[in-house]
């Protein structure tokens, strides 16, 4: 009897629903991976093409990397992209850290839910709507002040990067033991000292993760940048978009590959940091 019961237990465990055991699961999974990565793989492959074609292989070469490297416009666009991403990511992370502290620490305040929603709206509002709104808004400022510098792009990037920086920081804060700060206060630390010596060091991995995520998101943006930028303010993505409308050479592939590599490195760092437990 006992063994029969056991046998049924095993059978029950086996019949528990598992998506992995459904017919066609493997096929669909591999199809998805192919759809995602095959085009990228092709792009990377043709960046090493010696020929000018993006479809016919003409031998291996670093030719397009060299030409991209020496292309002044690419250089300018890259530097501009990095500059905007760097400043916007730092500003967004500072704002996001303060927002995360305000929405997780202390007593819940009136409108906390509303504040939370407002911080995260850039994730929901269609980008083209934000971009159009910014275009119109900044246009009137441009007219009245005459300023046409990078400030507009930095401000716009900072705004839409805030929720991306906010989420990992908030997650980190929520998993933090509040009694640690209480204990610091008990041990004669003023609230500022407790923040500096306890909260901030423990929050650091979350802040770095938020910073990197914001950096990548800013680096990658096309829609808002395209509409907000003034003349001669192409970033790398908008430059590439412009190129695709004209003569297409594997130089675009080369730039994309470097871009991809940079993103992968940053995202990997983000992943490692957010996994780090203290």
């Amino acid at each position: 009897m006992a063994s029969a019961g056991e046998g049924r237990g095993v059978a029950l465990r086996r019949t528990g629903f598992s998506v992995k055991r459904q017919t066609g699961f493997g096929v669909i999974a591999w199809l998805c991976f192919f759809m995602l990565y095959l085009p990228i793989l092709t792009l990377v492959l043709f960046s090493f093409n010696a020929d000018q074609s993006m479809a016919v292989w003409g031998g291996f070469s670093f030719r397009w990397y060299e030409s991209a490297w020496h292309n002044q416009t690419v250089q300018d666009a890259s530097l501009r992209s990095l500059q905007i991403a760097f400043i916007a990511a730092i500003l967004a992370t500072v704002a996001a850290t303060m927002a995360a502290l305000a929405t997780t620490r202390g007593r819940a305040f009136r409108g906390e839910q509303a504040a939370y929603a407002m911080i995260n709206t850039p994730l929901i509002v269609p980008e083209i709507v934000t971009a159009t709104a910014l275009l119109i808004f900044f246009a009137s400022i441009k007219v009245s002040t005459g300023y046409t510098g990078l400030g507009y792009l930095i401000a716009a990037h900072t705004a839409f990067c805030i929720p991306f920086a906010y989420l990992p920081i908030r997650a980190r804060l929520e998993s933090m033991d509040l009694t640690l700060e209480t204990a610091a206060g008990d041990l004669y630390a003023t609230p500022w000292q407790a923040f500096r010596r306890i909260t901030l060091p423990l929050l650091w991995p979350g802040i770095i993760a938020g910073l990197m995520l914001a950096f990548v998101i800013s680096l990658d943006d096309v829609v808002i940048t395209e509409l907000v930028k003034s003349g001669g303010q192409d970033t790398l993505p908008t430059y590439m978009l412009g190129q695709l409308r004209r003569i297409v050479t594997p130089e675009i592939n080369a730039i994309s590959t470097v871009f991809l590599l940079l993103s992968v490195v940053i995202v990997t760092l983000f992943f490692l940091l957010s996994r780090q437990r203290s």
């Binding site: 033991d177 009694t179 640690l180 209480t182 204990a183 610091a184 206060g185 008990d186 041990l187 004669y188 630390a189 003023t190 000292q193 010596r197 306890i198 060091p201 423990l202 203290s278």
Partner: protein
């Protein structure tokens, strides 16, 4: 206001809680976590706040630490009202229930944190940390991260960290509850030793009556935001003033009785069986009052002949060190007698036997309510 009426006590009180109330919420959801609590805690005392969860003991501890502020009343530390001070301005340290060790610091850095915040010179901090490590026998683990040591070791670090700045009072919030039985017993002895060696006043919060009885110089039993009784472990155990105290600490038999006469804190009471005994009596009872008398199971004696109380043995439960006899009294109540087991000479009483229960003068205690 009460401060004007109550005469100043000599400074041997470390902490004096004066008429403290703590109200949470307002209107319908208004809850008094502490209801006009007053208590004095002496210097160098191991004082325990004992009660079930929700009785207000942790709230009182948090008010003394400064993590919360009283709705009304004063908290005096050596005669100075500290109730409005933030925690970092009070010479009081806490051992937290979950230890709250700083995970990004080493054991030594944790212990030195308080002194560092007080701005003490580096050499002094190092010397003090070394002394603390020695005190809790953790010298070898000074450089470890707190996540790399066991629960018992974390407990010691938490103690050392709280003791390092030499606080006037050490607060302990159920610090032993996370430890397993054997380690808990060890730490009970360790805590007593630390208190003795440092001479610091300990205020210990627990819901474990046995822990309270074995460790404390004095105990305050709390229930529903009030302190019911303050006294030494023997006092609390032998002379519980209220039904709650008698029930919460140890096992007890409750018997209805009538007061015949009282003089000098002692009363002559008549039990339902018609037998009269002497028992200590709180103030405020007049002859003729119906009262409840409590008798501890080990303070009564089982007899073969008719005695103070009489009944039939219902059940005999063997506990190793002692045996519990459950007796159905003739007046219809149950009564438990506990007798220590001797190597020879078993009680020889079994279920169904007629027995007498001898309750001597002084073995019983009259309750307030």
């Amino acid at each position: 206001m009460t401060g004007d009426i109550v005469p100043e006590k000599p400074v041997r009180d470390a902490i004096e809680v004066r008429g403290v109330s703590k109200i949470f919420g307002a209107g319908e959801g208004r809850v008094a976590a502490l209801d006009d609590v007053s208590v004095s805690i002496r210097e160098n005392e191991f004082f325990t706040l004992l009660g079930p969860s929700g009785c207000g003991k942790t709230t009182l501890l948090r008010l003394i630490a400064g993590f919360d502020f009283p709705t009304s009343g004063q908290i005096m530390l050596h005669g100075e009202d500290i109730a409005p001070l933030p925690p970092f301005k009070r010479p009081v340290n806490t051992v937290f229930q979950n230890y709250a060790l700083f995970p990004h610091m080493t054991v030594a850095q944790n212990i030195g944190f308080g002194l560092e915040m007080l701005g003490r010179p580096k050499a002094e901090i190092e010397a003090r940390v070394a002394a603390m490590l020695k005190l809790v026998q953790m010298e070898k683990l000074a450089g470890r991260r707190t996540s790399q040591i066991s629960g018992g070791q974390q407990q010691r670090v938490a103690l050392a960290r709280a003791l390092a700045p030499a606080p006037k009072v050490l607060l302990l919030d159920e610090p032993l509850s996370a430890l397993d039985f054997k380690l808990r017993k060890e730490m009970q002895i360790e805590l007593k030793r630390l208190q003795h060696e440092t001479g610091i006043t300990f205020i210990f919060v627990t819901h474990d009556q046995e822990e309270a009885l074995t460790m404390s110089d004095r105990i305050a039993v709390m229930s529903s935001g009030r302190i019911l009784q303050v006294g030494g472990p023997r006092d609390i155990y032998d002379h519980p003033a209220e039904r709650f105290v008698a029930n919460f600490i140890g096992d007890t038999n409750f018997l209805p009785a009538t007061v015949l006469s009282s003089a000098g804190g002692k009363a002559r009471v008549k039990l339902a069986s018609g037998i009269e005994i002497d028992a200590p009596l709180p103030a405020g009872f007049t002859p003729g009052s119906e009262v409840t008398v409590v008798v501890r199971p080990e303070h009564a004696r089982l007899m073969r002949e008719a005695s103070t109380l009489n009944g039939t043995v219902e059940n005999v439960v063997y506990f190793g060190t002692d045996t519990h006899f459950h007796v159905a009294l003739d007046q219809g109540r149950g009564f438990v007698v506990r007798q220590q087991n001797a190597r020879s000479g078993e009680a020889g009483v079994s279920a169904g036997d007629r027995v007498g229960i001898f309750v001597g003068d002084g073995a019983a205690q009259v309750l307030k309510d």
